[in-house]
C-alpha cells in the first residue's frame, strides 16, 4: 500500500478497498522496521494513531465522506500538538508539552487525518541539511551518506521512504522546497498568510509559512485545501478566499507563460541539474506552455538580505526562551542573569546560537540602519523584480537547489557554503510569493527538483502546472531502493 499516493489512498478508502486501521497499521509497521536507520521521527504515538484510525473508519461507515478521512500523516515537530511532546528539534524543548494545538493540527484532525507522530527537523528550523537536530541527523533514503535537506528534513525523508504518504513542513528560506528536491518529493510553500501559523513555533515571522510535502501535486492540492484559510488567532493570516485547488488540475495548460530567469542558470548551478531543469521546461513547452526569458536583476542579493532579515527576526522571536516560562532551565542558577545565560547557552545548539548572535548584532545600536534597514530596502528591490516579471508571465520556473543532496558533514564547517543551498529558494520568502518544488530528474541516483514560483495567492496555478507535468513524467513516482 505504501507505493500509493495520498490521492490514491483517499480513493481506496472511499471505495472500501482498505480501512484506515489497515493503512495506519501498515505505516506504523514500516516506521518500526525502517526508521531506526533513517531517524526521520522524534516521536511515534501508535496508540493515539490507532484510535484516530478507528474513529475515522467508524465515521466512514456511518456515511461521512471527506477526502482525507483516515489518511495517515506526520507533523513536523514544530507544530504544537496538545497532549504530546513538541521539541522543535531542540534540547530547549526536549520535554515541552504544548498546552494547545496548532491551527494546522486542528484543521487536519478535523479533516479526519491520522497523525502517526512527529518528524525530526533542524533545531528551530535553522538549517539546510537536518544535521542541526538535538535528536541526531536524518539520513537521505536515496543515499544514506547524504543529507535529506532541511529544515523539514525528517518530513521529506520519511515521505521519500514511504513511512507516511504526506508530512507537514514549514518554509522560512526553502525548508519545504529544498528537502523536497533532495528527497524526490513534491512540496509547496504557500503565499505568506495563506496558512495559519498559530501554534507553529516561530523562526522569522515575516518569512515563515507552512505547507505539505507529498508524492504528487495532486496530493499537495488535497492537503493544502484542508490547511489553508483565515484564522483570527494569527494576526498575519490572510482573509483571501481559498479556491478549490483540485478543481482545475486536469485542464490543459495551453498558453501558460513560464518565465525563465537567466540569473538562475549562471554560476553556482550544477551542470547536470541545469540539464534536467531545461529538459523539464521543454516538457512544459510540449504541453503547450510558452517559455519567456526574464531577468531578476537583484537575485544575487537574496542570500545576503535573507541572512540579515531571518537572523534578526529569529533573535527577537527566540528571546522568549529564557528558562522561566517554559523550556529548558539550567541547574542551580545563582542569579537571574545566570539563569538566562546558562539556560540559553546550554539549551540552544551551535547554529541557533550563531543565528541569534548575527541577528542581535544586526539589530544592535549603531548597526541597525547599516544592516537591518538596508536589508529591508534590498528586500523591496527583490520583491519589485518579481512584480515586474509577473507583468509578462504567469509562473517562474528554475532549479530548486544548485546541486543534488550533498554528503553528510560536507558543509558543517562552513556556514556560508551551507547558506548557499538556499540560493534559489529564499526569494519566495522575502517576497512572500507561493513556490513549489517537484522532482524532474536524477543525478547519480539522487533526485533533482524543479522550482515554480507563482503570483500572490495563485497556488492553484502552480499545482495545476505541476500536475500536468506529472501526468506525462514519472519522476515523482520513483522511490529509493531498500524501502520494501
Amino acid at each position: 500500500m505504501y507505493e500509493k499516493t495520498l490521492a490514491e489512498q483517499s480513493r481506496m478508502l472511499a471505495n472500501g478497498d482498505c480501512s484506515s486501521a489497515e493503512l495506519t497499521t501498515h505505516y506504523l509497521d514500516r516506521i518500526a522496521r525502517l526508521d531506526k536507520e533513517l531517524n526521520t521521527m522524534v516521536s511515534v504515538n501508535a496508540d493515539v494513531a490507532m484510535e484516530a484510525a478507528k474513529r475515522a473508519d467508524e465515521q466512514r461507515s456511518s456515511g461521512t465522506q471527506k477526502p482525507l478521512l483516515g489518511v495517515p500523516m506526520v507533523h513536523k515537530d514544530i507544530f504544537c500538538v496538545a497532549g504530546g511532546r513538541t521539541t522543535c528539534g531542540s534540547r530547549m524543548l526536549e520535554h515541552f508539552q504544548a498546552p494547545y494545538s496548532a491551527t494546522v493540527v486542528n484543521k487536519l484532525n478535523d479533516a479526519g487525518m491520522v497523525t502517526l507522530g512527529k518528524a525530526n527537523m533542524d533545531e528551530f528550523a535553522m538549517g539546510s541539511s537536518n544535521e542541526n537536530s538535538y535528536f541526531g541527523p536524518v539520513k537521505n533514503p536515496w543515499q544514506h551518506d547524504c543529507v535529506p535537506g532541511g529544515s523539514s528534513g525528517g518530513s521529506a525523508a520519511l515521505v521519500a521512504a514511504r513511512l507516511a504518504p504526506m508530512a507537514t513542513g514549514t518554509d522560512t528560506g526553502g525548508s519545504i522546497r529544498q528537502p523536497a528536491a533532495f528527497c524526490g518529493l513534491t512540496g509547496i510553500k504557500p503565499t505568506y498568510g495563506r496558512v495559519s501559523r498559530y501554534g507553529m513555533i516561530a523562526f522569522a515571522s515575516s518569512l515563515d509559512q507552512a505547507g505539505p510535502l507529498a508524492i504528487s501535486a495532486e496530493d499537495c492540492a488535497m492537503v493544502l485545501q484542508a490547511m489553508a484559510g483565515f484564522d483570527e488567532r494569527d494576526s498575519t493570516s490572510s482573509q483571501q478566499a481559498v479556491p478549490d485547488f483540485s478543481a482545475s488540475l486536469n485542464q490543459p495548460i495551453e498558453g501558460l507563460k513560464i518565465g525563465v530567469p537567466e540569473e538562475y542558470f549562471s554560476a553556482g548551478l550544477d551542470d547536470a541539474v541545469a540539464t534536467h531543469v531545461r529538459a523539464a521546461l521543454a516538457e512544459f513547452e510540449k504541453l503547450g506552455a510558452k517559455l519567456v526569458s526574464i531577468s531578476l536583476p537583484n537575485q544575487g542579493l537574496c542570500i545576503p538580505a535573507y541572512y540579515v532579515v531571518a537572523p534578526a527576526e529569529a533573535s527577537s522571536n527566540l528571546s522568549r526562551f529564557d528558562g522561566v516560562r517554559f523550556g529548558y532551565r539550567c541547574d542551580n542558577p545563582v542569579d537571574l542573569e545566570d539563569l538566562y545565560t546558562r539556560s540559553r547557552g546550554e539549551g540552544f545548539g551551535a547554529e541557533v546560537k550563531r543565528r541569534i548572535m548575527i541577528g542581535t548584532y544586526a539589530l544592535s545600536a549603531g548597526y541597525y540602519d547599516a544592516y537591518y534597514l538596508k536589508a529591508q530596502q534590498v528586500r523591496r528591490l527583490i520583491s519589485n523584480d518579481f512584480e515586474n516579471a509577473f507583468k509578462e508571465v504567469d509562473v517562474i520556473a528554475g532549479p530548486t537547489t544548485p546541486t543534488p543532496a550533498f554528503q553528510t558533514g560536507a558543509k558543517t564547517d562552513d556556514p556560508v557554503a551551507m547558506y548557499l543551498n538556499d540560493l534559489f529558494t529564499v526569494s519566495a520568502n522575502l517576497s512572500g510569493l507561493p513556490a513549489m518544488s517537484l522532482p524532474c530528474g536524477e543525478v547519480n541516483g539522487l533526485p533533482v527538483g524543479l522550482q515554480m514560483t507563482g503570483q500572490y495567492f495563485d497556488e492553484a496555478r502552480l499545482l495545476h502546472a505541476a500536475h500536468r507535468y506529472q501526468q506525462v513524467t514519472d519522476w515523482h513516482q520513483r522511490m529509493p531502493s531498500g524501502i520494501e
Binding site: S206, T341, G345, A370, Q377, L381
Partner: protein
C-alpha cells in the same frame, strides 16, 4: 568585516547566551564570514527605497475589543520549570 573576540563577548551578553571560552574564537570566525557575505548589500543604491518589513499589505488587522479566551492559567503554566501560586519562580532579584 572582522569581529574581535571582545565583540563576540559583547554580542553574547546582549543575546544572553552563555559561551564557553573555547567557543569564542570559532564564533568570531563564523560570524565574520557571514558578515562578509552580508556586506555585499552596502554596494546597492537604495536611496529612496521604502523598507519592506513583511510581504503584502503592511496593515495589521484589528479585532473587536472583547473577551475571546477563557482563563487557562494552570494549563499555560504547566510547562514552566518552577511556579508557585500562579507565579513563575526565578532566583531572588531583590536582597
Amino acid at each position: 568585516m572582522a569581529l574581535s573576540t571582545d565583540d563576540i563577548r559583547q554580542i553574547a551578553h546582549l543575546a544572553r547566551i552563555g559561551l564557553d571560552e573555547s567557543a569564542i574564537e570559532p564564533l568570531r570566525d563564523d560570524l565574520s564570514t557571514v558578515l562578509n557575505l552580508v556586506e555585499q548589500l552596502n554596494a546597492v543604491d537604495t536611496a529612496g527605497v521604502e523598507p519592506m518589513a513583511h510581504p503584502g499589505n503592511a496593515e495589521l488587522r484589528l479585532r473587536e475589543d472583547k473577551v475571546s479566551e477563557q482563563d487557562q492559567r494552570d494549563a499555560l503554566q504547566a510547562p514552566a520549570p518552577a511556579t508557585e501560586q500562579g507565579y513563575f519562580l526565578v532566583p531572588r532579584v531583590i536582597e
